[in-house]
Symmetry: C2
Subunit: 580 residues, 2 copies
């Protein structure tokens, strides 16, 4: 029985065969399996190209061909033979030349009378292995030959493919749900952020609602950090080149750095991370071991010169605010400090219903060249992290080879409500930068002692965390985080506005974020708008409520019994206070 990948690869051939039948002028190029199906890139420049509306008929053609594809097998051919067969197709000729130049064998695969240049990895019995209904042509897009924009633009046809019809349908349902939860779509609907053509791609602008959400998240992280003795610091977004030459980031990040030449000819860069700047705050004076650890927290925007094609909503941006922190401490404090961050992470993520997994990212003894520093120091450092994991009695993933070049780390992976996994928080031990920046404290003996640094981001980047959170919650943030927590809706402007206003004032006095939606639109329309904005509580005010001095409460999931304003205030205030 063929593997799913083999079946997907075979379907790419079937697609090419169907295209060859319907569009004889088409030049097939490359068609691999991908993680939800397959695609094939064609050059249709010699005639008509299929449109989205033609996919159903191509799908039918594949289904028609499939029964005749009983066997699929490969033959080794000479370069000459291959060139003769694909003489009219410059794309295939380029591939043939490459294979030959590498000294590899050239193979052709044939089934149902259709032959393609291919290195193999197919179903041997397509008609038997592949079920009608388990695959579906999905969409058409443009793609440059070999992904290079200097090359001709080809037409890419995507197909979805799974083992069974049920799996295909489940995937489609999940995709639909993901589309409905797409943070780019919801971000606009909920009026959280925007982009401007004049400002540029990958540079989100934050609206009042979006800024409020960011600030609330950031304040929550800092509240957790304050308990552990962290203090805020602030730094500029640029630096002289020299800082990154010393830290080692200049070489490592040089392609992604936004660089600046000043009018006096000095080279500066925008910061892609904050650690080198923070070392300079530590280095401003000499420290006694008694004053350590120094714990610096700083939510600040970092900049990376990402390529336009890779930018996507808030997931991949050029400007992102890191909720960064660095702890400057002695080696002997590392375990305690890691545990503090561990606790913060394990308080923060469950607040939103994320489940956490941890990966122990370690040195790879087979590739010592990837790391800096003495193996003895690495052993000490990894033992320390292992001790933490054992003390926590938690299952963890082995991340051998996943350490940073400067030290081992614990990476945290959050599972969202759709079962997707996202690497989020991280705690890293850094023995390298303290060396490079000569950071030390004066120890009990009056000697200079090299210190270590711990890097600890909780959200990582607020932008990326928000993209995950929006999709995880479908925009229905917990009440403490909702930009508008309560929407008051008087049924009639004349009769109920006064009381509605009193209710709003009473709730605001409790610190609740209330909006009043007067009676310009019908009640139904206003309720729908409130629900679309994912407001946690809608309060409808009519005669009955005014008379009884109550409110009728509709939460996002249910209608509650009418209650007094005081009771409702208490309920909401408690929910906000407890972040439930």
């Amino acid at each position: 029985m063929a593997s799913l990948e083999e079946k997907r690869h075979t379907l790419a051939h079937l697609l090419a065969a169907a295209v060859a039948e319907r569009y004889p002028h088409a030049k097939p190029t490359i068609g691999p399996a991908v993680d939800n199906g397959f695609y094939y890139d064609f050059d249709f420049s010699g005639g008509a190209a299929p449109k989205e509306g033609d996919l159903a008929s191509l799908q039918a053609a594949i289904e028609e061909l499939l029964p005749s594809w009983t066997d699929m097998s490969g033959t080794e051919v000479s370069k000459k033979d291959a060139e003769d067969r694909f003489s009219g197709n410059p794309f295939k000729l380029e591939l043939i030349k490459e294979i030959a130049d590498k000294g590899e064998t050239i193979t052709l695969y044939t089934s149902g009378g259709f032959t393609d240049l291919c290195r193999g990895g197919h179903s041997e019995k397509p008609a038997h292995d592949i079920r009608v209904g388990s695959f579906m042509l999905e969409r058409i897009a443009g793609a440059y030959w070999r992904g290079d924009e200097k090359n001709p633009m080809l037409t890419r046809i995507y197909g979805l493919a799974f083992d069974t019809k049920e799996e295909l349908e489940a995937y489609q349902t999940q995709q639909e749900e993901a589309r409905a939860r797409d943070h780019k779509k919801l971000g606009k609907e909920l009026d959280l952020f925007t982009f401007s053509e004049l400002v540029g791609p990958g540079l989100p602008l934050w609206t009042p609602k979006g800024t409020l959400v960011r600030d609330l998240l950031d304040a929550y992280v800092f509240q957790l950090r304050t308990k552990e003795g962290y203090q805020k610091v602030e730094i500029p977004h640029i630096t002289k080149k020299e800082l990154y030459e010393t830290s080692g980031h200049w070489d490592k990040f040089k392609d992604e750095l936004f660089r600046i030449t000043t009018r006096e000819g000095h080279e500066f860069a925008m910061k892609p991370m904050n650690c080198p700047h923070h070392t300079q705050i530590y280095a401003r004076r000499q420290w006694s071991y008694r004053e350590l650890p120094q714990r610096y927290s700083n939510t600040t925007t970092c900049y990376r010169d990402e390529q336009s094609g890779e930018l996507s909503g808030l997931s991949r941006v050029r400007a992102f605010a890191q909720d960064d922190a660095h702890v400057f401490c002695r080696m002997q404090d590392v375990k305690t400090e890691f545990l503090k961050v561990w606790d913060i992470i394990h308080t923060f993520y469950p607040t939103f219903g994320f489940e956490l997994k941890v990966r122990f990212s370690k040195y790879d003894p087979l590739h010592p060249e990837n790391y800096l520093g003495d193996t003895k120091v690495w052993d000490t450092a990894e033992d320390m992290l292992l001790e933490i994991l054992e003390e926590k009695g938690i299952e963890y993933m082995d991340g051998t080879g996943e350490a940073a070049f400067y030290g081992p780390k614990l990476d945290f992976i959050a599972s969202d409500s759709m079962g997707r996994n996202w690497q989020v928080a991280t705690i890293q031990l850094d023995m390298l930068q303290p060396e490079r920046f000569d950071l030390y404290c004066i120890n009990e003996n009056g000697d200079k002692e090299r210190i270590v640094m711990i890097h600890a981001a909780i959200m990582g980047s607020i932008e990326r965390f928000l993209s995950i959170l929006i999709e995880h919650t479908a925009g229905a943030f917990p009440t403490w985080l909702a930009p508008v927590q309560v929407l008051v809706l008087p049924i009639s402007a004349e009769k109920h506005a006064d009381y509605a206003n009193k209710v709003a004032v009473a709730l605001r006095a409790k610190g609740v974020r209330v909006e009043l939606d007067g009676a310009n639109d019908s009640l139904g329309k206003r309720i729908r708008s409130g629900k679309n904005m994912k407001v946690p509580y809608l309060l409808v005010i009519g005669d009955a409520e005014v008379e009884a001095g109550t409110v009728s409460v509709e939460s996002r999931t249910s209608k509650l019994d009418p209650m007094t304003v005081a009771d409702f205030s208490e309920l909401v205030a408690k929910e906000i206070e407890e972040r439930t």
Copy 2:
């Protein structure tokens, strides 16, 4: 009787004469009056140069020459004569050529047998006008010929000069006080900010204490803004060039912009101001007149490529956080919105004991080319501002010609505790950017109506405001703003630490920022350290306090009677709450 400026200018000649006597190889160049005295630049490259230690003897030489300078008068000479007289001095020859090239007359001024090339403006009777004791040679510094670093380095000798000895002494006392209050010195002593050679000049790094002070100031401004309906927004620190081409800032600011070319070859710039970005937040959707004003508040770092030589502490930096706000409203809302900002400014500045003056910065009818827009619109706008000033019944300075190119403004000038004036807050009416960015609302008739923008910074830049505030208060911030509000000092570690700790915990529970300084140093040393750090309250804990359950309180100005912890907590909490 000669004016002070004429006397200062004459003293520069006297200095040149004294130098010529003592240093015959010296080549005098240029020697003007400045606003506290005078200076003269000499080329000493032909022999020895005076050092700071030689100033007293040069001063004596001037005092000796003075009585012989009974008259000072000028003579017109030909270019040839002037060149002959200064034939050995290439600096003077360059000046002579320039004067001649411009077709101006060349004059030489002589007194006491000393002649110098000069355009005049002296005391005619130096010996009579200038009093011994009213001037003093101050210091020596290097200066490039004509301020250009490509030219030879000269030696500049500075002198102070006033009408009387008393005025000179008063100036020196004020200078001494200013040096003691210098924010660069106090910023380091109070551990508020630091600079790093690796990060670069003009880019302050903020320590935990400094960051706390910044955040408290910013939170105070936002608290005042919140009452007036402002909301926070957030923006990236960079933008595509196109944004500034549209706003008109690209041309205006191009020398001061930090520019970036991305790896894909696009031109970006770091933002030197925030208004163009904020227009893009407003422009994200269509607004009904009912939804206006939109009031966006944003404390965010701006960047300007200042020249290294102009950078100074926090007063002139390359990175500065503006507490910026923009109101998008209809013309008819301008007065109300100006008054809201007026109130914020007049709450904020008096909190620190600053006195405010206001300048009405208007259109200059003699120079219409300096402004954009219709004079009728200007009249309407200025009338609106005048109405505000009249309603306030306040005296204001006339600022004809001080308007921004896009509209009139109200500028606020604060007087500090040393009588110095600083332009601080500003409220500006902008009719230009809404035009350039096509910002509008839908009015009552369903038509598009052009809106206006109000720019309103309260502190201006936090860096500059802090430099002023530190010098105004000599670092003794009001209690609500002090990084450490109370310092608890147990006399003996063994006997008083427990109680001291309880006091600290009790105060922290009230939200007071307390530090405990254990008994590692002598009490005297710890008290001095607390006073140096300008901590508002020092609590000394000894046997008597432990026994009576009280604290002995020393404020920055006086010793208070012992009081209970509860009473003291209340006193401090009230002071913080009321920002007194």
